[in-house]
C-alpha cells in the first residue's frame, strides 16, 4: 500500500511538474501579451481611448444671407426645430417610432424613409427623424426625451426665401447633399440634414455662403450621452459670408406681379454699370418647398407644367430675336456702306427672290421707307433688302458685337449661347450650303437666329450706350469700364432715332401704349413678334390666322426691348412673353412699366424729374 502510494506520489510529482510547467508557460504567455498590449502598443490604445472618451460635435455654420442691392434679404435663415436619431443608441427602432408618433405627427411613409436612411448611413452618424417642427411639438418631444433613447433634439437652420417664386431662378435653393457627392474631405457635408446650394446663386456661391464648421469637444459615455462639454471649445463655427446681388427685390416683385399668369422672361440692365436689377422668369416655383424637401407629386407637377416653371428662361430660354434685331441690321448696313440713313426702299408688302416670295408683316406694304421709318414701323421689306446687301457673314459679325452668341450666365449657371448662324455653321450642321433666302429672314431676326432675353437686354444696353456693356449679378463681379463699340456715332444715332420713333412717333409700332409716363422723359424701344410656325402659301393667300385662333404653343412669341430716358439712357429692359402674340401688345406695356419702376427708383432720373422737368434738353436724335 505504502509502496503503491510512493509510486503514485512519484508519478504525481512528475506529472504535476509537467502540468506546472505548462501553467507557468501559459501565465508567461499572458504576461507577454499584456506587455505587448500595455507597454508596446500603449500609445495606440491611448489614442483610441481618447477618441472614445472625447467626441467632437460638429457645429454647423450659419449660412450666409443673399441680399438684394438695397440689403433686403432674398434668402435668409430661420430656426429649424428638429429631432435627430443616433442609430447606435436605439435598442428598438419600431418601439421608438411608435412612441414618437404619439408625441409628434410622424407620417407612416416617414418610418420607411428613416429606416432607409439608417441603412445608408454608417452606424455612427445620426439621421434626421423629423424637421421643421413647430415650437409646441418640439417642446413636447424634449419633455419626453428620457423615454426616447437615441433621440437628440437640435435647433438647426431652415433656409427661407421670403419672395418665393419671383426670385426662385436667380437665388435657386438649397437641398440635401446628393448621395453622389464626395463628402470625404468635408465632414460638414455628412452632418445630418445639412443643406447645400443646389441651383442658382445658392449653388454658384455655395462655398462663400457655407462658412466653416466648428467643433465642440465633449466627453461622452459609451451610449453617446454627453457627460460634459469641455471648457475649451475647439473651434466656433465661422458663419458663411453674406452675398449681395444687383437685383432689386421691389422691382423684381413688381415685374413678377405684372407678368403673372404668363410664361415670360424679363431682364433689365443698368446701362452705366452692367448691373442686373431684374432677372425674372415666370412662372416661378416656390424654392421653400425644395429647401424643406419637396414631395414627389409636387415635383412632378412642376416638371410637367408646359410653362416650364423650373427653367430660367431669362438666361437659358432661346427665342428668335425677330424685329428686335432690326436696329442692329441697320447699323451694320451703315457700317458696311450698303445704304445711308436717307435711302428709301419701296415696300409693296412682298419681295421676290428667285421664285420665292418674302412678305412684310403689313400685307399692303409701307410704301417707300427710309431707315427711321423702317425701324419705327418695323418694315420687313426694308430689312430683307439690307440683309441681302449685307450677306450673312456681315450680319453675324454685327450681332456678335451686340452680344448674340455669348453665354451670359451671370455666374449662376443656366445660360445659353443662343445661335448665330453663318455659312460655315450651316455646312457643318446640315451639310448644305447657305441660301440667300436664309440671309433675308435673318435680316428680320427669324430663321436660325436664336437669342436669350439677357442677350436682348445686353443688345439694347449696347445700342443705348454705344459701349460693350456686360451684365453682372453678384456684387464684386463688376466689369471694368466698357469699350466703345465699332460703330459710328452717326450710325448709332440713326438706330436710336428709329427706336425712339417706335415708342414716340405717332406711326411707331409701340406708340399706342402711350409712352413712358414720367414727365416728358422719352423712351426708345423695338417690338418683336417671333414667329413659331411656318405660314404656308395657302394660308397666306386666304388669310393669316390670328394668334388667338391658334393653340398656345403655336402662337407668336411677343418681344420688346427698350431703354430710357432716350436722351441719357439709364436702364435697358428686354421682355419676352412666350406665345404672347404681338410684341407691341403683349410685351411692350409690361416692359415699359418695369422700366418706369426702375427709373422711379433711380436718383439721377428722380433729380431730373423733380428739377426742371420741362427743360429737358437731350441730344438731337
Amino acid at each position: 500500500m505504502a509502496r503503491r502510494n510512493e509510486d503514485a506520489s512519484g508519478l504525481f510529482t512528475r506529472r504535476a511538474l509537467v502540468l506546472s510547467g505548462a501553467g507557468v508557460a501559459a501565465f508567461g504567455a499572458l504576461t507577454a501579451r499584456l506587455y505587448k498590449l500595455q507597454i508596446l502598443e500603449s500609445d495606440r490604445y491611448r489614442g483610441l481611448s481618447d477618441k472614445n472618451q472625447f467626441n467632437y460635435q460638429l457645429l454647423p455654420p450659419s449660412r450666409g444671407q443673399i441680399l438684394d442691392r438695397d440689403g433686403v434679404p432674398l434668402a435668409k435663415n430661420a430656426d429649424n426645430f428638429r429631432l435627430l436619431l443616433e442609430p447606435e443608441q436605439v435598442p428598438d427602432l419600431d418601439d421608438l417610432l411608435a412612441r414618437l408618433s404619439k408625441i409628434i405627427p410622424l407620417r407612416e411613409d416617414m418610418h420607411e424613409r428613416i429606416r432607409k436612411s439608417l441603412k445608408r448611413r454608417s452606424k455612427s452618424s445620426a439621421v434626421v427623424l423629423a424637421e421643421n417642427l413647430d415650437w409646441a411639438q418640439f417642446a413636447a418631444a424634449n419633455l419626453h426625451l428620457p423615454e426616447l433613447p437615441g433621440v437628440r433634439p437640435e435647433v438647426g437652420e431652415l433656409r427661407v426665401y421670403p419672395d418665393g417664386p419671383s426670385m426662385a431662378h436667380v437665388i435657386g435653393y438649397v437641398g440635401r447633399v446628393p448621395e453622389s457627392m464626395d463628402t470625404e474631405d468635408e465632414p460638414l457635408l455628412r452632418h445630418p440634414g445639412f443643406r447645400i446650394g443646389r441651383t442658382g446663386a445658392e449653388k454658384a456661391l455655395d462655398k462663400k455662403l457655407r462658412g466653416q464648421a466648428g467643433a465642440l469637444k465633449v466627453e461622452v459615455s459609451a451610449l453617446g450621452r454627453v457627460v460634459r462639454e469641455l471648457p475649451d471649445p475647439a473651434t466656433l463655427a465661422r458663419p458663411g459670408d453674406d452675398v449681395v446681388l444687383t437685383l432689386d427685390q421691389h422691382i423684381q416683385s413688381f415685374a413678377a406681379e405684372r407678368l403673372k399668369g404668363q410664361s415670360a422672361a424679363v431682364c433689365a440692365i443698368d446701362i452705366e454699370t452692367g448691373a442686373v436689377p431684374v432677372l425674372l422668369s415666370t412662372p416661378g416655383f416656390d424654392p421653400n418647398l425644395f429647401a424643406k424637401g419637396i414631395s414627389g407629386p409636387d415635383y412632378r407637377a412642376l416638371l410637367e407644367d408646359e410653362f416650364k416653371p423650373l427653367f430660367n428662361k431669362a438666361l437659358g430660354g432661346t427665342y428668335p430675336p425677330a424685329s428686335c434685331v432690326k436696329p442692329v441690321i441697320a447699323l451694320a448696313a451703315l457700317r458696311q456702306g450698303v445704304t445711308d440713313s436717307h435711302e428709301r426702299v419701296r415696300c409693296t408688302g412682298k419681295i421676290k427672290l428667285g421664285d420665292r416670295e418674302f412678305h412684310c408683316w403689313k400685307r399692303r406694304g409701307h410704301g417707300p421707307v427710309n431707315m427711321l421709318g423702317a425701324i419705327g414701323k418695323s418694315c420687313d421689306i426694308y430689312f430683307y433688302e439690307m440683309a441681302r446687301r449685307l450677306g450673312i457673314d456681315n450680319i453675324r459679325d454685327a450681332v456678335h458685337e451686340f452680344g448674340y452668341g455669348e453665354n451670359f450666365d451671370l455666374g449662376i449657371g443656366g445660360g445659353s449661347t443662343g445661335l448665330v448662324p453663318d455659312q460655315a455653321w450651316k455646312r457643318a450642321r446640315f451639310g448644305t450650303s447657305w441660301s440667300q433666302g436664309e440671309t433675308l429672314i435673318a435680316g428680320i431676326g427669324q430663321g436660325y437666329l436664336a437669342t436669350t432675353p439677357i442677350q436682348l437686354a445686353v443688345m439694347t444696353a449696347r445700342l443705348a450706350s454705344g459701349r460693350m456693356v456686360k451684365p453682372y449679378l453678384i456684387k464684386g463681379q463688376e466689369h471694368p469700364p466698357f469699350d466703345e463699340l465699332g460703330f459710328s456715332t452717326a450710325g448709332l444715332g440713326a438706330a436710336r432715332a428709329g427706336m425712339i420713333a417706335v415708342c414716340e412717333a405717332p406711326w411707331g409700332t409701340a406708340h399706342r401704349m402711350g409712352g413712358l409716363g414720367l414727365g416728358d422723359l422719352k423712351m426708345a424701344g423695338k417690338t418683336g413678334t417671333g414667329q413659331v410656325r411656318r405660314i404656308t402659301k395657302v394660308e397666306r393667300d386666304d388669310r393669316v390666322r390670328k394668334n388667338n385662333e391658334l393653340p398656345w404653343v403655336l402662337r407668336d412669341h411677343a418681344l420688346f426691348v427698350t431703354y430710357a430716358p432716350a436722351d441719357a439712357p439709364r436702364y435697358a429692359v428686354a421682355v419676352v412673353v412666350e406665345h404672347g402674340g404681338g410684341g407691341s401688345v403683349a410685351a411692350a406695356p409690361p416692359a415699359r412699366d418695369i422700366l418706369r419702376e426702375l427709373l422711379k427708383d433711380d436718383p439721377i432720373t428722380l433729380a431730373r424729374l423733380s428739377g426742371t422737368g420741362a427743360a429737358t434738353k437731350g441730344p438731337a436724335t
Binding site: A2, A16, Y45, S221
Partner: protein, 384 residues
C-alpha cells in the same frame, strides 16, 4: 492494511492541531485577491461602496469563514461526500436540461446573497472530488490502463455533454479540461494521451465546424476579426483591448479609468473586471495580479505535492487546475486571445456563485493541507 501503517499517518487530529496547521499564507493570498476585487469594484462604481464593493467584501468574509470551517472537518467526510456530490450535481444538470431555470430547488441551500445557483459550477468541484475519489482507490499501474479509463471518461463526458447542451461552451470546456488534467495526473499512459489528444483534436475541429450554435459561431468569427464590426459583436473585445492598452505601464490611476467609467467596457464588474483593473493600474497592476494568482496556484500545488494520499494530491491539484483555468481563460478572453466565453476572474469578479465554488475549492485544498498525513482507506464503498 494496518500492517503497513506508518507512524506519521494520523487517524484523527484534535481541533487545535488542525487550527495550528492552517496554511495562513494561502489565506493571506486569497484575502489579497479578494481585496483587489473590492478595490476595483469600488472604483467602477465611481468610488462607491455600493452597489458591489461592500457586498463583495462581506461575501468574501462569510465565504472565508465557511472555507476555514470546511477545512477543519475530517477529510473522510470530503471523501465520503465525493460521489454523492457528483451525483447531485449531475442530477441538477439533468434538471436544468429538463426544467430549465425552474430547477432552483437547491438555490435556498446555496443561496448566499442574491445568487442564482449554476449546477455547472457545483459540477466543477464535484467532478474534481469524484475523480480524486475514484483514483484514490486505484493502483497506479491500473490507473494507466485503458480499461480503467472508461469510468472516468463517462464521469467527465456526462456533465460536459449536459453543460454543452445548455449551451455553455466555456464552462463545458473548463469542466472537461479539469477532468482530463486529473486523469493525466492520476497516471494515464502517454500512449492513450496521445491517441486521446489526436481524437480530441479531430472531434474538436469537427465540432467547431458542425456543432456550434449560431451565437457561438458569431463569437468565434468576431474573435477572429474584431475590427470588422467595431460597434457590433466585436465591440467588447475591442473596447477591452483599448482599456487595457491605454492603461500603459502605471495605469490611469485609481478611479481614473475612462473606458470603465464612461461605460465603454461591457460586463466590467464581472467578466471584464481584469480590464478595468488594467486600465487603472496599468501593466504593474495586471502583472501583480498574475503573480498573485501564480502564488496561490504554487501554494496549492505544493499542498497537493505534500499530501500523502492520492485523494489529497489529485483533489488539491484538481482545484488548482480549475482555478488556473478560470484565470487563464478569463484573462485570455479580455485580451482578445480567445473568444468571449463568459468566464469570470475568480475572487476579483463580482458574483457569488463562482466565489463560493472557488472558496469551497480552497476549503478542500486547505483541508488536504491540514490532513496531509491522514490515513485514507482505498475502499470502493459508496461512502466511507
Amino acid at each position: 492494511m494496518n500492517e503497513f501503517r506508518v507512524a506519521r499517518i494520523e487517524r484523527t487530529l484534535s481541533l487545535s492541531a488542525k487550527v495550528a496547521r492552517i496554511n495562513w499564507l494561502l489565506v493571506v493570498l486569497l484575502c489579497l485577491a479578494a481585496m483587489i476585487g473590492v478595490a476595483v469594484l469600488y472604483s467602477i462604481a465611481d468610488g462607491s461602496w455600493t452597489p458591489r464593493a461592500a457586498q463583495h467584501a462581506t461575501r468574501f468574509g462569510v465565504f472565508l469563514l465557511l472555507m476555514l470551517g470546511l477545512a477543519l472537518i475530517d477529510i473522510r467526510w470530503w471523501m465520503a461526500l465525493a460521489y454523492p456530490t457528483y451525483l447531485v450535481a449531475l442530477l441538477l444538470l439533468i434538471g436544468v436540461e429538463l426544467f430549465g431555470v425552474k430547477v432552483m430547488g437547491a438555490q435556498r441551500w446555496l443561496d448566499v446573497g442574491p445568487i442564482r445557483i449554476q449546477p455547472a459550477e457545483i459540477m466543477k468541484l464535484a467532478l474534481v472530488l469524484a475523480l480524486a475519489r475514484y483514483y484514490h482507490g486505484l493502483a497506479v499501474e491500473r490507473a494507466t490502463s485503458l480499461r480503467h479509463i472508461a469510468l472516468p471518461a463517462v464521469m467527465i463526458a456526462a456533465p460536459v455533454l449536459l453543460i454543452l447542451h445548455q449551451p455553455d461552451l466555456g464552462t463545458a470546456m473548463l469542466v472537461g479540461a479539469t477532468g482530463a488534467v486529473i486523469v493525466f495526473l492520476a497516471g494515464l499512459s502517454w500512449r492513450i494521451i496521445t491517441i486521446g489528444a489526436i481524437t480530441g483534436l479531430i472531434g474538436g475541429v469537427a465540432f467547431l465546424i458542425f456543432g456550434l450554435h449560431d451565437y457561438q459561431r458569431a463569437r468565434i468569427e468576431t474573435f477572429l476579426n474584431p475590427e470588422q464590426d467595431p460597434l457590433g459583436a466585436g465591440y467588447h473585445i475591442l473596447q477591452s483591448k483599448i482599456a487595457l492598452g491605454s492603461g500603459g505601464l502605471v495605469g490611469k490611476g485609481f478611479l481614473g479609468g475612462t473606458q470603465s467609467h464612461l461605460n465603454f467596457l461591457p460586463e466590467k464588474q464581472t467578466d471584464f473586471v481584469f480590464t478595468a483593473l488594467g486600465e487603472e493600474f496599468g501593466f504593474i497592476g495586471t502583472l501583480s495580479v498574475l503573480v498573485l494568482f501564480m502564488l496561490i496556484l504554487f501554494t496549492g500545488m505544493m499542498i497537493a505535492g505534500r499530501a500523502r494520499h492520492s485523494f489529497g494530491r489529485l483533489a488539491a491539484a484538481g482545484v488548482c487546475v480549475t482555478f488556473a483555468l478560470y484565470v487563464l481563460v478569463n484573462i485570455s478572453m479580455v485580451m482578445g486571445l480567445i473568444p468571449v466565453v463568459g468566464v469570470p476572474l475568480p475572487l476579483i469578479s463580482y458574483g457569488g456563485t463562482v466565489m463560493l465554488t472557488v472558496m469551497i475549492g480552497f476549503a478542500l485544498v486547505m483541508n488536504i493541507h491540514i490532513h496531509r498525513n491522514a490515513e485514507l482507506p482505498a475502499g470502493h464503498g459508496f461512502l466511507l
